[in-house]
């Protein structure tokens, strides 16, 4: 059953809520009353329920099957976390309630901060970034503030990042007023240390490196990289998107990192929710800690309080030179509760085991798929396995076709065409949530697809998906003539 837009099936008179009748007479709106129609149709409650349930059934989700999206880390989302986040003491708490009324909330933020600092081996953490990219911004802002404090902000404008970096890295650097240059990769898919060194100088603000990197590989030279950058007077920003491969095993603080954001929705399983909300607390080294954003929580004699302005920060800690404020309130509290619930449930042993299982699962997939597919690099991987499209050579099947064919097998495609350093990349991250049974089924389906591609069945790949709610969608047309909203004219058309 096709489900129309609410704008097509609702009416302006209908409503799905019952409210008391206004008494009338009140009008202190300064003469700015709304007189026109707004254009918002309503639906009764049963119609609304059915509308959204029907829409939901057009989605794929981790609760339905594997989501082997490399670099995206789609793992199990425990419902305990949802329950905890909805406790009235958290879910129904006003961000500007007096400190005396929010002691438990501040305690929770402080407790989560402790876990994050302990797991990363870093001395400080900024909790307010609202998502991973916001955390990157936070880290790069701290670097900029540190450079300013050193009087070198005007001089140090260059930031280096590998070509394989997430797009957010260069975008963030630019948003901070830096320019970005690529660091070349070596043959093993890792940063070319010598080439990096050649780019360093006294105009370097810092580097942005993901580790494990987006090829699913650990940067072997990580300490040498950190040392070289530090020696050149720059800072080391680590993109923490792949922290889930090493959490509980390795502390980034032991590797020379100055700042790293943590995607709570990846590593600590707060749900992706179709694209958000995320949460990106950012751990900071001693060097960067003084520049952390406001607000933050402090605790004295068991009483928690908030430092909410730069001036207050300065008054509180003498070296504090907070770079300012990232968001209106305290960050993604709802995500904090979920992440802490997840962490406490795992404990240090479980976090470690989860990382180990994630790496084991990726290597198992790598080992099994090798039979028909072409790994991009030699050797083992960390939490994700990267393939290129060599195995599809001359088959007429491209990476995107392979991906869409997976849909017809009941799977969400892997990440495709990323990282950019590999031709027709296919990046597979099973996560620790997949059982051996699920992985065996998945690998079986992948191997069978690869064989079919090689057997000359390109046509069926080009036609895929066939069994999805929609066949392939025309993204070019969407971008060429953007239709970003429904308009009443469409309703009239539909009625014709």
């Amino acid at each position: 059953i096709e489900e129309g837009l609410s704008f097509e099936i609702g009416s302006y008179a209908q409503t799905g809520v019952d409210l008391p009748e206004p008494k009338g007479g009140a009008d202190r709106l300064g003469g700015l009353n709304r007189n026109n129609d707004i254009g918002l149709p309503g639906l009764s409650e049963p119609e609304t329920m059915r509308h959204f349930v029907r829409l939901s059934q057009k989605n794929y989700a981790i609760d339905m099957g594997p989501f082997p999206l490399g670099s995206c880390t789609m793992k199990h989302n425990p419902r305990l976390n949802e329950k905890m986040a909805r406790l009235p003491g958290f879910g129904d708490l006003h961000p500007l309630a007096p400190e005396s009324a929010v002691q438990g909330a501040l305690e929770l933020i402080d407790t989560l901060a402790f876990w994050l600092k302990e797991l990363t081996g870093m001395p400080a953490v900024a909790m307010s970034p609202k998502a991973g990219a916001h955390g990157e911004l936070c880290g790069m802002m701290a670097i900029k503030a540190a450079l300013e404090a050193r009087g070198e902000a005007g001089k140090r404008k260059r930031v280096l990042a590998p070509e394989s970096a997430h797009g957010t890295n260069p975008a963030t650097a630019v948003q901070c007023g830096f320019t970005v240059e690529n660091i070349p990769a070596d043959k093993t898919g890792r940063v070319d240390l010598e080439a990096l060194k050649a780019k360093l100088g006294d105009d370097i603000a810092g580097i942005m490196v993901t580790n494990p990197n987006t090829c699913g590989l650990f940067e072997r030279d990580i300490r040498a990289i950190a040392d070289a950058v530090h020696e050149a007077g720059g800072y080391f920003y680590c993109d923490g998107a792949n922290f889930n491969a090493i959490a509980g095993k390795v502390r980034p603080g032991d590797l020379g990192v100055d700042a790293m954001h943590i995607n709570l929705h990846k590593t600590f399983s707060t749900p992706h929710g179709g694209g958000g909300p995320g949460s990106g607390p950012t751990v900071l080294s001693e060097a960067l800690a003084p520049f952390a954003p406001v607000p933050y929580v402090i605790c004295e004699d068991g009483k928690y309080s908030l430092v909410e302005t730069r001036r207050a920060a300065k008054a509180e800690g003498e070296s504090a030179e907070s770079f300012g404020r990232l968001t209106a309130f305290h960050g993604q509290m709802g995500m904090f509760v979920r992440a802490l619930s997840y962490m406490m449930s795992h404990g240090k042993d479980g976090v470690r085991q989860a990382s180990e299982d994630a790496v084991l699962n990726a290597n198992y997939v790598l080992a099994r798929l090798k039979a028909e597919m072409t790994p991009a690099f030699e050797g083992h991987c960390m939490h994700e396995a990267l393939f290129d499209d060599r195995f599809l050579k001359d088959t007429g099947v491209e990476t995107i076709d392979f991906a869409k064919a997976m849909i017809d097998e009941g799977y969400h495609p892997m990440t495709m065409y990323f990282p950019l350093v590999v031709h027709g990349a296919m990046l597979i991250e099973p996560t620790e949530s997949e059982s051996k049974r699920e992985l065996d089924l998945f690998c079986g389906a992948m191997l069978s697809l690869a064989k079919r591609a090689k057997a000359g069945e390109a046509e069926s790949f080009k036609a895929a998906p066939v069994y999805a709610p929609r066949r392939r969608l025309d993204e070019t047309a969407a971008a060429r003539h953007p239709v970003l909203r429904w308009t009443p004219a469409q309703k009239a058309e539909a009625a014709e």
Partner: protein, 447 residues
């Protein structure tokens, strides 16, 4: 560990298939002395233990619904229909990824398209994006966008703008050496912000209802801005107000940013919230954030996709309009569901109930000795000038179970002029008894 499906037999079999004898062989690239670090953290806990620990923390907080609550200033306690929270927890929505594979993500994409349409209608603008992190970050993005559109450098902030929005905007704008002019605190909406606009001005940012609750007429400001080639960025922190007030679009705003928390989303101690971002069609390629667009599939059926990604970081990298990567997906869904339930008729009624609650509250408090109501106009929030420091009053009332509002010192700690101010919000959740309790206790605190 309950979340991990492998047992040791599985693990051994898999290690064997991989060709290593133990798991650490797969971590061979990690410096040996950094591997298997020790952590000063507890081992795993069962659900019951976690519930006890977190439940204990939650119990130390005073929920807005636990008694009279009059706190607003950018986050509002509203009643959310039970269905909203039920639907957003459906596996198919909660545990879906960003809809990059549109063929199996039409559920997410269609509600984003509905959301964009709702936000555009509500703000009176032509188009809206699929949301920002929250209102405050949206405000900073709007200023950055205005710089891109106008190629000018100066940003003027009204004295009625929420100070946190101002701070976020400054923090972001100073990074790229923009000039940020902050007008002084403007309690009674008497500033002449138009006079601050000059030829170098990219935009002027004005909030209505402002942080003190005053309803501001944006039309003359828009005209002044446009005369100088600047944009008007209108900020709305209480989305419900748009059910009663003339939309910023009608008054000439070029970009409208708003906090959508009031529709469908709980207070959550400040996040996650949902930033509304709307503008004119001609600016779409300068917009930040995710956009959902209509298209068709290979069989000609209507469908939806993420579009104009050439603005976005994952395609444009250092040339992107913003580094933003996620939107507030699930909060957006909550907004869309609640707005669909409300519809135009419900939203107007809800807005009127809020306005009535505020009028009633203001009238009751105005009678208290030592209280002066500052506003002549307001929607569901207004400001009192008290005969003493409002922070003390708020703390005293909190200890008696009344969340009285936001004291000036909370928002402007370094500006003692503001310290006797108390910003009071009243929504449909406020009862007559709440108002009575508040005014009685306020009287006691001020006597």
């Amino acid at each position: 560990m309950r979340y991990l499906p492998h047992n040791d037999i599985d693990r051994q079999a898999m290690l064997k298939a991989v060709g290593v004898s133990n798991i650490d062989a797969l971590f061979e690239d990690v410096p040996a002395d950094a591997l298997n670090a020790k952590f000063d953290l507890p081992d795993h806990m069962g659900e019951m233990e976690v519930e006890r620990a977190l439940g204990g923390m939650a119990a130390k907080n005073r929920a807005a619904g636990a008694g009279p609550c009059f706190i607003g200033a950018g986050a509002y306690k509203h009643h959310i229909p039970a269905m909203v929270d039920h639907i957003i927890q459906r596996s198919e929505f909660l545990t879906a990824y960003t809809p990059y594979q549109p063929e199996i993500a039409q559920g997410t994409l269609q509600y984003l398209f509905e959301f964009q349409t709702q936000v555009a209608a509500l703000t009176g603008m032509e188009v809206a994006n699929a949301s920002m992190y929250d209102g405050s970050t949206g405000c900073a993005e709007a200023a950055l966008m205005a710089r891109r559109v106008t190629k000018k450098n100066k940003v003027v902030l009204s004295g009625g703008l929420h100070p946190h929005y101002g701070a976020v905007t400054r923090t972001n704008l100073e990074l790229v050496d923009a000039k940020v002019v902050q007008a002084p605190i403007d309690v009674d909406a008497s500033e002449d912000i138009a006079s601050q606009i000059d030829d170098d001005t990219a935009c002027v940012i004005v909030q209505s209802p402002d942080v003190f609750g005053n309803v501001r007429d944006l039309t003359p400001i828009a005209e002044a801005a446009h005369a100088k080639g600047a944009l008007l960025v209108a900020v709305v922190t209480e989305a419900v107000s748009l059910g009663a007030l003339k939309s910023p679009g009608e008054m000439g705003a070029d970009i409208v940013v708003g906090e959508g928390q009031s529709i469908g989303n709980g207070l959550n101690f400040g996040g996650p919230y949902v930033g509304l971002f709307a503008t004119r069609q001609k600016y779409i390629r300068n917009m930040p954030g995710r956009l959902c667009g209509e298209t068709h599939d290979a069989e000609g059926k209507r469908g939806f996709v993420l579009t104009l990604s050439t603005r976005e970081q994952h395609i444009r990298r250092d040339k992107a309009t913003s580094n933003i990567c996620t939107n507030s997906g699930l909060c957006t869904l909550a907004f869309t569901i609640h707005m669909t339930l409300l519809g135009e008729a419900g939203l107007r009624k809800l807005a009127m109930l809020n306005h009535e609650a505020a009028c009633k509250t203001a009238d009751a408090l105005a009678k208290v000795k030592g209280v002066e109501v500052v506003n002549t106009s307001y929607f569901n929030e207004f400001t009192l000038r008290l005969s003493k420091d409002a922070s003390e009053v708020v703390d005293k009332l909190a200890s008696e179970g009344v969340l009285a509002g936001v004291p000036g010192a909370r928002l402007w700690p370094h500006d003692s002029e503001a310290h006797n101010l108390l910003i009071v919000a009243a929504t449909e959740c406020v009862t007559d008894e709440d108002i009575k309790t508040f005014s009685t206790k306020l009287g006691e605190a001020l006597s």
